[in-house]
């Protein structure tokens, strides 16, 4: 496998430069950030660009937002699920629809794996996005159980022909991730930040961890343009 075949491009300007060509193929990756930092946008670009630029089928599992909101948000950034890029390659599945009043959480990792088992066999996605881990965590009694199940789930994902992006959240001024454990299980870890600079919010992106990769570790500013996220890989936030 050549170096470029070994990477899965995100198609996000600047991010592929920082990560030396994208995520390692068949890896489990994590993006974290506070509310409004652009996590879902980054994930939808990874999902959509895969089909547009590489013909990769993609599966986006929504657990928190509803499906219509994601579709509407994508359209705002020139990502049309009914467009020519789709052609049966992009699947946006809203498992949050399974939520009932009786349920402790929406779904467990085992249920998601059971779903994937059937879905992968049928639709053969190459990219998977799970939005988001904190919703799955509601299923578990404590962080230890959540970590254990996340670890098993990640091992399952690595055995598939899939490059996965998991979304989690960070609470401001606390851990980098919601539970402080997710990044230990993932192969790569991208942190999005929102910083108050003289009364204005500045968005930042840092590749904190990426296995098998000599990646850039600096904090970089990024912009949200009409075409989505553009990371300024040549600039650093000091």
């Amino acid at each position: 496998m050549t170096e470029s075949e070994d990477r899965v491009k995100t198609g996000i300007e600047g991010l592929d430069v920082l990560s030396k060509g994208g995520f390692p193929r068949n890896s489990v990756n994590l993006v974290s950030g506070p509310a409004g930092s652009g996590k879902t946008l980054l994930a939808t670009q990874f999902f959509f660009n895969g089909a547009r630029d590489n013909g990769d089928a993609g599966l986006y599992i929504v657990l928190e937002e509803n499906r219509e909101n994601i579709i509407r948000a994508m359209k705002n950034f020139e990502m049309d699920l009914d467009g020519p890029e789709d052609k049966g390659r992009l699947f946006l599945i809203d498992l949050g629809e399974m939520r009932t009043e009786q349920d402790r959480g929406v779904v467990s990792f085992r249920e998601i794996a059971d779903f994937l088992e059937s879905f992968i066999a049928r639709s053969k996605p190459k990219r998977l996005i799970l939005d988001s881990l904190p919703v799955v965590s509601l299923y578990y009694r404590n962080v230890e159980e959540f970590r254990e199940e996340l670890f098993t789930f990640s091992r399952y994902l690595r055995q598939q022909d899939l490059t996965t992006l998991l979304i989690t959240e960070s609470l401001e001024d606390q851990y980098l991730t919601r539970f402080g454990v997710e990044q230990f299980v993932a192969d790569s870890f991208i942190v999005l930040g929102l910083e108050d600079v003289r009364g204005e919010l500045r968005r930042t992106l840092t590749v904190r961890k990426m296995r098998f990769t000599k990646h850039d570790t600096a904090k970089h500013p990024f912009l949200i343009t009409p075409r989505g996220i553009e990371v300024m890989s040549g600039e650093k936030v000091v």
Partner: protein
Amino acid sequence: MKREHFRATVGILAGGHGLPILRLLHSRGWSIASDVASELEIHTTTASKYLTKLHEVGILDRRTRDCRTRKAHEYRLRSPRISLDVDIRDSQDDDLVPVCEFYSSVLFGMIKKTEKIGWAIINPAVEETLSELQDSSENEISDIIAYIDVKGGHASTFRRLREAIESGELQCELIDLKKAFTAVFERVLGLCSEGVGPTTASRIFQLALRTSPKRASSLAAEYGLLDVFSEDAVYDRKRG
């Protein structure tokens, strides 16, 4: 099994030559009335009468054989096991419409939920599988399936079934409805399990059950219409 059908079946099996004829056909295979008559030492007319009735109630297969002077019917046993499934309660006719409402609401509740989670091909897939099922089923089942309007949804399907039952256009018993919809749900559950996994499929059905009309749900429990929805049944279909 309809009550008249049940009466006819029991009647012919209870007749003195019913079981001996079946045993003979089981060992001989395809036979004509005169073969049966000579083996059992009964009149050919008697053998012929039994064979015709056993064929009419569905226990025997029949084909026509060209003999030298005329055509003759040959018979054979369809299966060495004969099961009789009949519900003896009398008041079922009043419940046919609510039971249709139950089945229709669960079926379309499930299709709608599956579409909502984003598995867009469920609708055409169900349409295709029902069409296959209709072609391959016995008349009693395919007559009922013909009223399921996948595109029109629950409102249209329920209206069509109700009108057909009330006008007498569709003459069926509760057992027929159960058989037909069990076959439908088996197919649809299988489809769903393949597409979204057995756990999600099972949850979709549980959600659809919860939203079905209350009166219909209690009838479903009373008549044991829910067997097809058990989690084990869903897993069995996935494994199958």
